[in-house]
C-alpha cells in the first residue's frame, strides 16, 4: 500500500491509497481548527445542521434517499479532538463500482453529495433555517445530558473535565450547554463561514480509483474553495499536573465507576523513543488481557469485570477506568496504583514485556485492514507534519527496552480521581438488613 498525494488547490491536497483490497471506498474531508469552547459548541451544531439539507437536496429525506440510491453510501459528520485542535470530519463510505449492478458511478455521486453538504447547505436569507438551528441545539443539549445514561462514559468525561479544571476554555458539559444556548442562526452561519475560510482542509481517499480520477472529481465539485487563511494548528503539549485532586458523586446505579488520571509528561511532540515507551507502558499496565490490571485487579482479586488503561498521546494523559462494587473503591484504587508502581520499580517479566510488544505490533498491523484506521493514521500525522509509515512505527516499537518503560513510569504523576458511587447496592443491603 503506497500513499500518494496530489495538489487540488494551494490549500488542499488529496492523499490517496489506491488498493483493490476493499469492496468499499472511503473518502474523508477534514476541516481542523484550534480548539476553543466556542469552536467546540459551533462544530457540534454544524455536524448536525449540515445533514439537514442542501441546495440540491433541500430536505434530510431527499439527501438520505440520494445516498441510498448510491448503493447505501454513508456520509458521517462528526467532530474529532486532536489534542488542542478540533476537526469536523466528513467521512463517506461507498460501495466499490465493481459491484454496482447498473454501472453507476458511485464515487462521483458521493463526491457531489459531499460537496453539497460541505459547500452548499440549505440557507434562507443567507442563514441556516432558524427552526432547524433551534432543533439541532435541543438535540445536542439532549445528547450531552444523556451522557448520564452511561455511567462509564460519564465518569471518563468528568475525569477529563477535572484534569482541565484550571482551563476556562475547556469544553465541559456545563459550559457547552451554556454556549449552545447562546447560539442563533446568524452566529452559526458565521461560524460555518469562518470554518470554511480558516480551517486546515484535508482530503483522503482509499479505494480502487487512481489518484488522478479522484482529484479531477474533487476539482469538478469543490473548486473554487472558499479558503482564505488557514489558522496555524496547536502542537500537542504534555499538560502539567495541577496537583492531586479527588472527587466523587453518588448516583442511583448498581456499580461504582472509578476513573483515575495520570500525567506521563510524554506526548505526540516528545522524543519518539519516549512516545513508544509510553505506549508500551500503557500496554503493560492495562491495555490488554495480558496487562497487569487485567491479570491482577480483575482475575486475581476478582474486583471488577473491566479495568483498563488508555494513553492519550496528544495530551500525555494516562487514564484508568473500572467498574467495581462501591464498597471496594479504596481497595481498587490501591490495587491500581500498586500495579503502576510495579512497573516503575522495574518488576516487568520478559513474558509481560514480550506480550505487550506483540499486542501493539498486532494493533499496528491491523491498521492495514481498515480504511478508516488507515485514514486516521496518515491523516493525523500529515496534519502535524510527521512523516512515518505503519512499518516505521512497528520498527520503532521493537527498539523500546524495559529500562525505557521504567524511566517513563517513574515520571508518571497521579493527578485526579473521580468516583461514581453507586447507591443501589447499599440501598438493597439496607433493605435486606431490615
Amino acid at each position: 500500500m503506497t500513499l500518494t498525494k496530489k495538489k487540488i488547490s494551494n490549500t488542499l491536497h488529496l492523499s490517496c491509497i489506491q488498493t483493490d483490497q476493499f469492496k468499499t471506498g472511503v473518502l474523508t474531508v477534514t476541516l481542523t481548527l484550534p480548539k476553543t469552547l466556542q469552536t467546540s459548541a459551533d462544530l457540534m451544531l454544524l455536524s448536525g445542521i449540515l445533514r439537514r439539507g442542501t441546495e440540491c437536496y433541500p430536505t434530510m429525506a431527499l439527501l438520505n434517499r440520494r445516498l441510498d440510491d448510491l448503493y447505501a453510501s454513508c456520509v458521517e459528520i462528526r467532530t474529532g479532538k486532536l489534542g488542542r485542535n478540533l476537526s469536523l470530519v466528513f467521512s463517506a463510505e461507498m460501495l466499490d463500482e465493481r459491484y454496482a449492478m447498473d454501472g453507476m458511478s458511485i464515487t462521483e455521486g458521493v463526491i457531489e453529495v459531499l460537496s453539497q453538504m460541505i459547500l452548499h447547505p440549505r440557507l434562507q436569507n443567507d442563514a441556516f433555517d432558524p427552526a432547524l438551528v433551534k432543533q439541532e441545539i435541543r438535540f445536542t443539549q439532549d445528547a450531552l445530558r444523556s451522557e448520564i445514561n452511561n455511567t462509564r462514559l460519564y465518569a471518563a468525561t468528568r475525569l477529563a473535565e477535572l484534569m482541565h479544571r484550571n482551563d476556562p476554555e475547556y469544553p465541559t458539559v456545563n459550559l457547552l450547554q451554556e454556549r449552545l444556548a447562546s447560539i442563533d442562526e446568524k452566529a452559526l452561519t458565521a461560524a460555518y463561514q469562518n470554518l470554511l475560510k480558516h480551517a486546515v482542509w484535508q482530503a483522503f481517499y482509499i479505494g480502487t480509483l487512481p489518484i488522478d480520477s479522484v482529484a479531477s472529481l474533487l476539482e469538478k465539485y469543490f473548486l473554487p474553495l472558499p479558503i482564505k487563511a488557514p489558522k496555524a494548528l496547536l502542537l500537542p503539549m504534555a499538560e502539567p499536573s495541577l496537583g492531586e485532586y479527588k472527587s466523587s458523586e453518588k448516583m442511583p446505579v448498581s456499580q461504582g465507576k472509578l476513573s483515575l488520571g495520570f500525567r506521563t509528561g510524554v506526548c505526540a511532540s516528545s522524543d519518539k523513543n519516549d512516545i513508544y515507551a509510553a505506549m508500551m507502558l500503557n500496554e503493560l499496565f492495562g491495555a490488554s488481557p495480558a496487562s497487569k490490571l487485567f491479570l491482577n485487579v480483575r482475575e486475581k482479586m476478582s474486583l471488577c469485570y473491566y479495568c483498563s488503561s488508555a494513553y492519550h498521546r496528544f495530551s500525555g494523559i494516562l487514564t484508568v477506568n473500572c467498574g467495581i462494587e462501591s464498597k471496594n473503591r479504596t481497595l481498587a484504587e490501591e490495587a491500581i496504583l500498586a500495579q503502576l508502581k510495579e512497573i516503575a520499580d522495574g518488576k516487568i517479566s520478559d513474558v509481560e514485556f514480550h506480550a505487550a510488544r506483540k499486542s501493539l505490533e498486532n494493533s499496528y498491523r491491523q491498521i492495514y485492514d481498515n480504511p478508516f484506521e488507515l485514514q486516521a493514521f496518515y491523516g493525523t500525522r500529515e496534519l502535524f507534519g510527521i512523516s512515518e509509515t505503519i512499518e516505521d512505527c512497528r520498527q520503532a516499537l521493537l527498539q523500546v527496552t524495559a529500562d525505557q518503560v521504567v524511566a517513563i513510569a517513574k515520571n508518571v504523576v497521579f493527578d485526579t480521581a473521580f468516583f461514581v458511587e453507586g447507591t443501589l447496592i447499599s440501598d438493597r443491603e439496607e433493605e435486606d438488613n431490615e
Binding site: Q21, F22, K23, G48, T59, M60, A61, N64, R65, L67, D68, D69, Y71, A72, E93, L95, Y99, M101, Q135, F139, D142, A143, R145, S146, I148, N149, N150, T151, R152, M251, P252, V253, S254, Q255, S288, P289, A290, F294, L295, R298, E299, S302, C304, Y305, G323, I324, V351, A355, K358, S359, E361, N362, R365, Q366, Y368, D369, N370, P371, G422, I425
Partner: protein, 438 residues
C-alpha cells in the same frame, strides 16, 4: 494426509469470494474462508446459548433445568486451565487478540492475529476442549460476573431491550438475561458446568470458522494435532423449540421501568412466531423483512422524517429484524419525550401505508441498500467469520444471501407487510427517568 475430507466448496463469482467446509473425523465442521488481509480471524463455537437451559439427554423423559446464565459462566471459566494458567496469557505471547461471547443461541471463542496463526489456533482448539473447573475457581468467577451483571443492570438500553423481550414473550427463555442474575449464578457448581459442557460442547454440535490469509492444510493439520481422530460416542440431546408453545400475541403491550436516564428511551418490539423450519426459508424471510424495515423506517423514509420534524424523537433511531430457529421479532429503538405517542404515530403511518400500499420505488431502494450492506460486510475477516458462524448456526449458507435478496419480489414484501405489524403483536418497553426523591 489429514483426518478431514473436503465436503463442499461454496463460491460467489460476482463477489470473488469462496470458502470450503470440511468434516473432521472428530465430528467437527471446519470452515476455511481464504481472504488476503493482514489479520486472520478464527472462531470456535458451539450452538449453545443462554436459552438452552432446559434439556433432555438420551431416552430420559425428565428434562434437566440448570440455573440461568450458566452458558455465559461456562464461557468465562473455560479460559482457565488445570495448572491455573489463563489462555489469555498464551494468546498474548503469540500476539493474538482473544475474546469470547455468549448470545441467546451460541457461545463463541475467538482470536484475531497478524502473526503465529498456527500457535493461536492450537491454543484455541486446545483450551476450549479441555475444561477444568474447581469449587474455588467457580467461586472466584462469581465476583467478576456479578460485576458484569451490575454493569449491564446499569445500562438503560440493555434494560429497555430486555424489557421488550419480557413484554413480548410469555414463557420463552429469551426473556431472561444472557448473564443470568447475581442470585442464579451463585447456584452454579463445577458439576453443573461439567454437565452442560459435556452435553453441548460435543464436537458435532460445534464449528470452527477461520477467515484470513491461511491455507486449508494449515488449519486441518492443527485440527488433527489437537482434536480426537474419531467422533465421540454421543447420546442425543433434546431442547424443546420454545416457539412451538409461544402465543402469537404479546404478553403485555406496555412495560415500564425507571432508571437514571436524562430522557425516556424506548424499544418497540413486534413479535413474530411464524418461523419457517427450513434454514433457507428463514434466511429468505430475514432478507424480505430487512427490505421491508428499510422501506418503512430508514432515514430516507416518511416515518423517520415525520417523527423527527415534529420533534417526537431524537435523531438516533435504530431498527432491525432478528430471526432464529426459535424466535423472531422486529424492534425499533430510540429516545423520545413521549414514547407512547411515538408508537401511536408509527401505527398511524403503518395504517396509512396499508391503505395506499407500499411504494415500488422504496422496494427497489430497500433492496439495493440491503445488497450493498451485504457486499460491504466482506471487507473484514472479523465480520466474515462472525457472519459465517451465525449463518451456519441457522443452517443457512452465507454466499447465497445475495441470490436470496435478488429472488425477493415486491408482492412477497407486500404480503409480509399485511400482518407483520398487527397490534396484538406489538409491545412497548420504556425506561423513564427516575422521579424526584425515588
Amino acid at each position: 494426509m489429514n483426518n478431514s475430507t473436503p465436503q463442499t466448496l461454496f463460491r460467489n463469482d460476482f463477489l470473488g469470494e469462496e470458502y470450503r467446509v470440511f468434516k473432521h473425523r472428530s465430528g467437527l465442521s471446519i470452515y476455511v474462508f481464504p481472504k488476503k488481509m493482514t489479520a486472520t480471524y478464527a472462531i470456535f463455537g458451539t450452538k449453545y446459548g443462554s436459552i438452552h437451559n432446559s434439556f433432555r439427554v438420551g431416552d430420559t423423559a425428565e428434562s434437566v433445568t440448570v440455573p440461568d446464565g450458566i452458558a455465559h459462566f461456562l464461557e468465562h471459566k473455560l479460559f482457565t486451565a488445570e495448572d491455573g494458567s489463563d489462555a489469555f496469557e498464551r494468546f498474548s505471547e503469540y500476539g493474538a487478540d482473544a475474546n469470547a461471547y455468549t448470545s441467546f443461541n451460541k457461545t463463541c471463542y475467538l482470536f484475531s492475529c497478524t502473526d503465529r496463526f498456527e500457535d493461536s489456533l492450537r491454543e484455541l482448539l486446545s483450551f476450549v476442549t479441555h475444561p477444568y473447573f474447581t469449587e474455588e475457581s467457580v467461586r472466584s468467577e462469581v465476583g467478576i460476573i456479578s460485576e458484569e451483571i451490575r454493569m449491564y443492570d446499569d445500562n438503560p438500553s440493555d434494560r429497555c431491550f430486555y424489557g421488550m423481550l419480557e413484554a413480548m414473550y410469555h414463557t420463552h427463555s429469551i426473556r431472561r438475561n444472557i448473564c443470568g442474575s447475581v442470585e442464579s449464578i451463585s447456584q452454579i457448581t463445577p458439576e453443573l458446568l461439567y454437565r452442560c459442557y459435556h452435553t453441548f460442547y460435543r464436537l458435532s454440535n460445534m464449528a470452527l470458522v477461520v477467515c484470513g490469509d491461511v491455507s486449508d492444510e494449515a488449519v486441518l493439520r492443527i485440527a488433527d494435532e489437537v482434536l480426537p481422530s474419531e467422533p465421540e460416542q454421543e447420546t442425543p440431546v433434546v431442547c424443546t423449540n420454545e416457539n412451538d408453545t409461544e402465543p402469537t400475541k404479546v404478553l403485555m403491550p406496555y412495560f415500564e421501568q425507571q432508571m437514571q436516564v436524562s430522557k425516556p428511551i424506548f424499544n418497540i418490539g413486534i413479535k413474530d412466531t411464524d418461523i419457517p423450519a427450513d434454514g433457507r426459508e428463514r434466511q429468505k424471510k430475514d432478507a424480505a423483512m430487512a427490505i421491508l424495515d428499510e422501506m418503512l423506517f430508514s432515514r430516507a423514509g416518511e416515518i423517520y422524517n415525520d417523527l423527527l420534524d415534529r420533534d417526537l424523537i431524537s435523531p438516533a433511531l435504530s431498527y432491525g429484524y432478528t430471526i432464529s430457529e426459535s424466535s423472531a421479532y422486529n424492534s425499533i429503538a430510540g429516545e423520545a419525550d413521549d414514547p407512547k405517542s411515538v408508537l401511536c404515530e408509527i401505527q398511524k403511518h403503518i395504517a396509512r401505508i396499508r391503505e395506499k400500499g407500499l411504494s415500488p420505488e422504496d422496494f427497489v431502494r430497500g433492496k439495493r441498500v440491503m445488497y450493498a450492506e451485504f457486499v460491504k460486510s466482506f471487507d473484514s475477516t472479523d465480520s466474515i467469520a462472525n457472519n459465517l458462524f451465525s449463518f451456519l448456526c441457522e443452517d443457512a449458507e452465507l454466499l447465497s444471501y445475495a441470490e436470496i435478496l435478488e429472488e425477493i419480489t415486491f408482492p412477497e414484501v407486500c404480503h409480509l407487510f399485511e400482518h407483520a405489524f398487527d397490534e396484538e403483536k406489538i409491545a412497548l418497553s420504556v425506561v423513564l427517568p427516575l422521579k424526584e426523591n425515588t
